[in-house]
């Protein structure tokens, strides 16, 4: 029995498999071998860390009751918003028919699935009883809990995303449209609800408030665009499948997406700082000062300058409006988002809202991530990079030239026609025939 992947034939047979794998490894370049080796080592590190978390209650994390959510939650938030941002950016092409964003499709979808499953994996390791979560969420849904809704939305999102990827690679265009649209909707709802998970906690002044979900959504868009920027920069740099299109269309598209995300993030950050410095809420003020001049000032200002200001300048200046410039801007922006989510989760807890169990934290609650936590986070990044490298090598990443999309004006026209005709018509097939994709 043989399986064909990306033009290569693989024989499914224990003896042949070894030879195939060996042949594959030998056919790789030295650099690729080294890269995959490094990632394997890091993944092994993460796996070792993961083993430590299996027995519930063993104190392998650096967290305490005063600082219950550590870097695993930061990492979960990061991956969960990145997946939504990837989906949002790419849905502009398929869902809204904006031609510029068309070539982002396949890579975004695969990365979205990867980051989402990684996010689920991290949260499963952070929870003491992940299996109970599934049964508990189904058999005793707690509708007042934002976390329940977040889980429900992300679960739905995963389903739509899987359908989207499947339909994309098997050419089920009509299903693909619907899956894309549904996934895009979920990609807006899910990170917003994730923001609400933090935003409802009036015990934590820094997280509390209506702007937390908004910020989460905007950060999601920025994170997704930045990761896509990194990927497409590498695609162009290493001349991977479709790099021509990537250079001509993806890079400019990413520049626009990044600019939107960076500007929106800056505006929201400015609003938050003004609010934090003028507020009557002491804990919120203290948290803001922790960022500006307190123990988290260095990472904060690095994030502001290197993660927001510099990439904005790189995108704005005509000189750096190149593939390399965009790539660097995307890298910096993604690093900024990583830092930002780390700061978000930490600063929300660093100012003591109360003594916890008699532990008086004066003035700040200490937290140092344990080696187990760090190794899991590193392993998670390595996992995404490893699987994506294999995808880049073996999956057919050529974008179809003509996508069936909801070309919005035509879609509206067809709906109107349906209403006036008083009968249902098969989803405006005719309208889409003229809608030939670009770049053939």
């Amino acid at each position: 029995m043989t399986v064909r992947l990306g033009g290569r034939a693989f024989v499914l047979d224990p003896r042949a498999a070894y030879g195939t794998v060996r042949g594959e490894i030998e056919s790789m370049s030295r650099a690729l071998q080294a890269w995959l080796c490094l990632l394997l080592v890091l993944m092994a590190l993460g796996a070792v860390g993961a083993i430590f978390t299996i027995a519930p209650g063993t104190e392998v994390f650096g967290t305490t009751p005063s600082f219950e959510w550590g870097i695993l939650i930061s990492a979960y938030v990061l991956f969960a918003i990145t997946t939504s941002g990837l989906c949002l950016g790419a849905s502009l092409g398929t869902v809204f028919g904006i031609e510029l964003f068309r070539p982002l499709e396949k890579r975004h979808a695969i990365l979205a699935v990867l980051t989402l499953t990684t996010a689920f994996g991290i949260i499963a390791l952070d929870l003491h009883y992940p299996v109970r979560m599934v049964f508990g969420a189904v058999f005793n849904p707690s509708l007042a809990s934002p976390m329940w809704w977040m889980g429900a939305f992300y679960a739905g999102y995963l389903v739509f995303l899987i359908v989207e990827v499947w339909s994309m690679f098997t050419g089920h265009d009509r299903i693909h449209q619907w899956a894309c649209t549904a996934a895009a909707g979920m990609a807006i709802i899910a990170p917003t609800t994730l923001g609400a998970v933090f935003g409802v906690l009036f015990a934590r002044s820094y997280w509390f408030g209506p702007f937390t979900p908004v910020t989460m959504l905007v950060t999601a868009q920025l994170a997704g665009s930045a990761l896509l920027g990194i990927v497409f920069f590498l695609v162009v740099r290493f001349q991977r499948t479709g790099f021509e299109r990537g250079r001509r269309l993806a890079i400019p598209a990413i520049r626009i997406l990044l600019a939107v995300g960076l500007v929106a993030s800056t505006v929201l950050l400015g609003r938050q700082l003004v609010d934090g410095l003028t507020t009557a809420d002491e804990a919120f003020y203290d948290a803001t000062m922790v960022l500006i001049s307190g123990p988290y000032a260095v990472p904060f200002w690095i994030r502001v300058i290197a993660g927001l200001a510099v990439p904005l300048v790189l995108i704005a200046l005509p000189v750096t409006r190149t593939t390399l410039g965009t790539g660097v801007a995307a890298c910096l922006a993604f690093g900024g988002v990583v830092m930002d989510r780390l700061l978000f989760v930490n600063v929300g807890q660093v100012v003591p809202g109360s003594t916890v169990g008699g532990v008086v934290s004066d003035p700040y609650v200490p937290y140092t991530p344990s080696l187990v936590e760090i190794s899991i986070v590193i392993g998670a990044f390595a996992l995404v990079a490893f699987v994506y490298t294999l995808v880049e090598r073996y999956a057919d990443l050529r974008e179809a030239d003509a996508h069936l999309g909801f070309h919005l004006p035509e879609f509206i026209a067809s709906v109107r026609a349906r209403i006036t005709a008083g009968r249902t018509v098969g989803d405006a097939d005719g309208a889409h025939e003229g809608n030939v994709g670009i770049g053939s």
Binding site: R132, F135, G136, V138, F139, N140
Partner: protein, 209 residues
Amino acid sequence: MRQLRSWLPTRLTAIKVAVFVAIASIVLGGTAFAAATLYAQYGAVKNVPNAEAWAALEPRYVGQAACGSCHEPEVAAQDASAHIDVSCESCHGPGAGHSLSDEAAREVSLTEPESEICSTCHATTAGRPATYPQVEVDEHYEGGECLRCHDPHSIVAVRPPDITHPRAKLPDCITCHAPDGLKEIPSGHEPVADRVCLSCHGRVAEPVR
């Protein structure tokens, strides 16, 4: 009758139906079993049995009444004192197991408190209400052996007997009764200053004629 028979399924159909019913029952039953198990374990209905389980835990602090059934004199002495609100188990630890029977009592012996426990409550400490009886322990009695004078249950200091001294005009006790002094310090006392002698012992009485 014939009409009725025509309504009934043929034999072949009956077999098919039987197989279908069997499979359906297994599937439905399995699903029902899984759902019932999981709902019983994870559903909201679980609140009541869980609260029952919390309520069914065994108390470890048994309360004053249980202590008094055997240790009547101590409890009575305490009830007559300012320590009336203090529970036996505050100082002696939880009584579960101890009070069950004589045999168990031997196995589960309670804490025999030392003098330190007095200063936990009565040492002068910032934050204590001003009206609450507090002492600078070392000033009150050097070494802080509260139980040497105080009965732990009735609290009142059991004053040592007044001293009948053969001599009428006396200098400080310590002039004679001191380490390497003329006389020994009676009854194994640690070397203590004069005023401390008199803070426990009654004033030196006139010699008996």
